[in-house]
């Protein structure tokens, strides 16, 4: 599903990733781990194509990303769900509208949008929060809204960058359990975290980054 071959990423001459070669299979659940500044977020940004590699090849779903035309990028991103530590929700919109927006950009019919949003809200136990604004919710609930938004578009890959960073340990385990469930339904899940406890608790493959290089 995700293949990287000798990928390098530099920012103004400073190396963030060095000679990354890795393979993540379709339907796999993988942790990307390492200390802060190891390059975890950069790796996810390369997969989401918000950053381009300085050198090397990235192939996702059989497509070489270096051959992407600019107009193809939005359509590519619609197949990828993302969840960030800071949730990245639109605080002036309701929970329902935040999730609906991910579908609205695809041109989906309003009726289908309603159905799909209600389905993910109920899957995540958020039906009663549909008309709330994000800032009135707890951190755990906000993260579940972000996950609901990512899931609504039925992505083939789900990326999460420190999704539990702002949550207490119990809520963190809930979130990873949720990812596990999503993964069991066939979605490839890539979670970047520095939380060793979570990695030890969930017996999944972990790719350890150290100073921008794969260490294991």
């Amino acid at each position: 599903m995700i293949n990287m071959f000798h990928v390098y990423k530099n920012y103004d001459g400073i190396s963030a990733l060095t000679d990354i070669t890795l393979k993540i299979d379709k339907g796999e659940f993988v942790f990307i781990t390492g200390v802060s500044g190891a390059g975890k977020s950069t790796l996810l940004k390369l997969i989401l194509y918000t950053e381009k590699p300085t050198q090397g090849q990235i192939i996702i779903g059989g497509k070489n990303m270096s051959r992407f035309k600019p107009r193809e990028i939005p359509y590519f991103r619609r197949k990828i769900g993302f969840v960030f530590q800071d949730f990245k929700l639109l605080n002036n919109k309701t929970v329902f509208d935040n999730i609906a927006l991910a579908l609205r950009i695809t041109g989906m019919d309003n009726r289908d949008i309603n159905k799909r949003v209600l389905k993910v809200l109920s899957y995540l136990g958020l039906q009663h929060r549909a008309n709330f604004k994000p800032l009135t919710l707890s951190g755990g609930e906000q993260q579940r809204v972000a996950i609901a938004r990512a899931l609504a578009k039925e992505p083939t890959i789900l990326l999460a960058d420190e999704p539990t960073g702002n949550l207490d340990p119990e809520r963190a385990i809930d979130i990873i359990n949720l990812f596990n469930d999503i993964n069991a339904r066939g979605t490839t899940v890539v979670v970047a975290t520095h939380d060793k406890y979570l990695i030890d608790r969930f017996n999944k493959r972990a790719i350890l980054l150290d100073k921008g290089m794969v260490a294991n």
Binding site: L48, T50, R71, P74, Y75, F76, R77, R78, I80, F82, K88, L89, L90, N92, L101, A102, R104, I105, T106, G107, D109, N110, R149, K153
Partner: protein
């Protein structure tokens, strides 16, 4: 169907954005209004000045004096030839007798001066009004050389010195208007784009999130552009109101002479449509420039 759905969504987003960022929106609308009002005021003054110059230009007249010994046939030939010249708007033949009687009329009360003058001492002449297109030094010189070719014309007068100064003044007004007008338009675009940039900057996170979710560029930009159109439209209407007030104050508070010289063409439909189109153009341009900057910043 998709397009209609999106259009409804973009318009509702644009109005929600205006409502949510009401202070920035009011600043943008006010900026557009003031900028357009200044441009409109300048344009009004320029139009008035041009009209004044055009009416002065219509007084340009060429007088062709005929030789004394010219025959009646030759006079009608010259009149016929001159009438079909492209430069000639209208012409009037003043015979020797007519010239003398006009002179006598002008000297009424001082008849003694005329005593001893037997026959009329004045030559017959053609008073020619020149078409607007040819009211230039070159155009008039062309007409004179054609008149001279006809034969029978002794002298041509057209106030050469006045004409040259008049056209130098027109050239100055045109260059001045071009420079000031260009500067005003650039300054307006700059101010408006920076004001809208503030609105875009305030929502940079929203732009980023939409981009990450896979929204196309047009989906992200359209609500901002519609917002620009709405703000431009409202700003232009406010500018029309401002100009109308200025005009009313001028009419009420100043003498009729001043009013007739400086009348802003606020009431004319084309001027209002022009201002509204200008406002919308400014709104779109301001949004586009600031969006392009923000996008390059985000990427």
């Amino acid at each position: 169907m998709n397009y209609l759905r999106w259009l409804v969504y973009f318009v509702s987003e644009a109005f929600q954005n205006i409502k949510a960022n009401i202070v920035t929106s009011i600043v943008t609308i006010a900026t557009i209004a003031i900028s357009l009002a200044i441009c409109g005021l300048f344009l009004g003054i320029f139009i008035n000045l041009s009209n004044m110059l055009i009416s002065m230009g219509s007084q340009i007249q060429v007088i062709a004096y005929m030789r004394d010994d010219i025959s009646v046939d030759a006079i009608s030939n010259i009149k016929r030839d001159a009438a079909v010249m492209p430069e000639v708007e209208s012409l009037e033949y003043i015979s020797k007798e007519m010239a003398f009687s006009v002179f006598k009329e002008e000297l009424k009360g001082q008849k003694g001066i005329l005593e001893g003058l037997g026959a009329t001492p004045f030559p017959a002449s053609l008073e020619i009004k020149v078409k607007e297109l040819f009211r230039t030094p070159q155009g008039i010189r062309g007409l004179i050389s054609k008149l001279k070719i006809t034969g029978g014309i002794e002298d041509v007068q057209y106030g050469q010195e006045w004409l040259n100064r008049f056209f130098a003044f027109i050239r100055f007004v045109e260059v001045f208007a071009l420079i000031i007008g260009g500067f005003l338009i650039l300054a307006t675009i700059f101010i408006v784009s920076n004001t809208i940039k503030l609105a875009v900057y305030a929502r940079r996170e929203e732009i980023e999130i939409l981009g990450l979710m896979g929204a196309t560029g047009i989906f992200i930009k359209a609500p901002f552009l519609i917002e620009g159109i709405v703000e431009g439209f409202l700003g232009a209407n406010l500018a029309i109101g401002l100009l109308y007030t200025v005009r009313e104050v001028l009419i009420l508070k100043t003498s009729m002479i001043f009013t007739s010289l400086v009348d802003l063409p606020v009431s004319t439909t084309y001027f209002m449509c022009g201002l509204i189109a200008g406002g919308i153009f400014l709104g779109i341009l301001g949004s586009s420039i600031s969006l392009r900057k923000s996008f390059s910043l985000l990427s």
